[in-house]
Amino acid sequence: MDLFKQLRRGNPGDAIFKGLAVLFGLSLLFISGLVVFELWYQSSLSRGEFGWSVLWSTEWDPPGERFGALQFIYGTLVTALGALLLAGPIGIGIAAFLVEIAPRRVDRVVGIVVETLAAVPSVVYGLWGIFVLGPFLCSYVAPPLQAVLGWLPLFSGPCRSYSVFTATFILAIMILPTVAAISRDVIRAVPDAQREAMLALGATRWEMFSRAVLPYAKSGIVGAFALALGRAAGETMALAIIIGNAPRIFTSLFDQGATMASIIAANFANAGSAMFVSFLIELGLILFAITLIINVSARLLVWTVASGPSGGIRA
């Protein structure tokens, strides 16, 4: 209606430009819709054949065209959560260092380091992981770990470069910048009054940080974790190189496994049958749904909780 009014007022330029801008804005909605539709449509063969049971089936028989997705969903969630377990605390530590401890110049340098860490392409991490990090972990990290915790099934079996273990570590390095950068922004946004009040009471820096800053920044940090989890779940190339792409539910971290993204990348080029391709696209659809749920809840969480920070006087 607005447009017509402007047209009538003899200002067609504004109307046309606004129309164009709206059109391009809407193109984002259109493209996202098209992505969902295309995945849904191309996976119809597999969805029709296996139905919902694909979600809890672990079948894997390419020649017989029988497939299940459970082991890949499991692999994705386990590696992503494992990576977050490693990267989460370290990321907060970096953020704390950058905001509370580092002088401005150091802060800038470390900021550049973190950004560069985020910029290195996934496939380079894969190459590095398989030829450098894997052997390193197997000769220096795995033996002491197995000496102490080797009785757990989680740490049984010989260490190999191609393993869930290496994959989790690589994934942790890859999501570390996400956790660190967002946590830093969130922690920096905590008002200084929060810190000063605590310090004025005679608190040490750690007490100030853990009791006045962290509670205040909690929701934002949880959001950072969730976004990192989404990234980890969708990460493809590094894992496709490292994890071994064995379609089974692993019980030991030193086993080989597969994630949804890695199995798609590893098998797409030589997927012989239409059913196989359709199943891989369905895996993509499931992956899409999972990352979408993680991402949307992360953003909603940050949006809703951030409006009323906990901590401070109401804690």
Partner: protein
Amino acid sequence: MTTRLTDVTSNYRRRKLVDSVMTGVAYVCTAVAVAALGFVLFYVVVRGLGAWNLEFFTSTTKYFGEGGGIANALYGTAVIVAFAALMGVPVGIMAGIYLAEYGENRLGNVVRFVADTMTGFPSIVLGLFVYGLLVLAYGFHGFAGSVALAVMMLPIVARTTEEIIRLVPDSIREASLALGVPRWKTILRVVIPTAMSGIITGVILALARVAGETAPLIFTILGNQFWNTDPFSGAMAAVSLFVFEASKSPYEAVQQTAWGGALVLVLIVLVLNLTARFIASRGSVR
């Protein structure tokens, strides 16, 4: 009396100790990140430089035996990223203008939310999307890869453009409007030029993001050991895709070439990032 006093001092000593331990932990966390980056860059540079020679830059990719280079892959990456930018950048900037100038309503919020969610789309999913959209009908070709990368760039460019345009002070807009310049001309001739350096920064960062991307290319350009200069038909090579394929090779020489390719990728990404940082630091808005 005396006992209470020692209690207090020992308590204070304990708190001090916890404080210094935690400070140390923060230092260690940062050291881990710096060490990881150093470790990665060191190996990529050392092993990559070992692969760099004339043959590496002039001959085509090989998955078997000795030798081989990345000439065709380098060409593929350049062409594919260029076409991606040609599509993703204008659409992204226009979407950013929409969000900043006309997006203060419910529809704008929806578009903003969708754009944010799109940045979280796994890149492999975008590859599958373009596979269904283009490859099934027209076969593997370079342009399909560009489409996938363009979809990746789109939300990044849109959101950074929006943020930069928001930084342009309203007084500049008002000055232009007060002179009788229509709104659209104000946006194109006054707001955009003011925000230009920021927009370029965003575009370069988006380019850096997609230049090393591999997952969407598997299903769209497939990879090719030979020269294919036509992005509109036939499988093409790209540096990132070659590194992926070569990393699985048992041949020592092929692995060596993969390290060389990895160094090329890292350099491209780092140079783009530094350029963006340089432009941003000299920018007119920021």
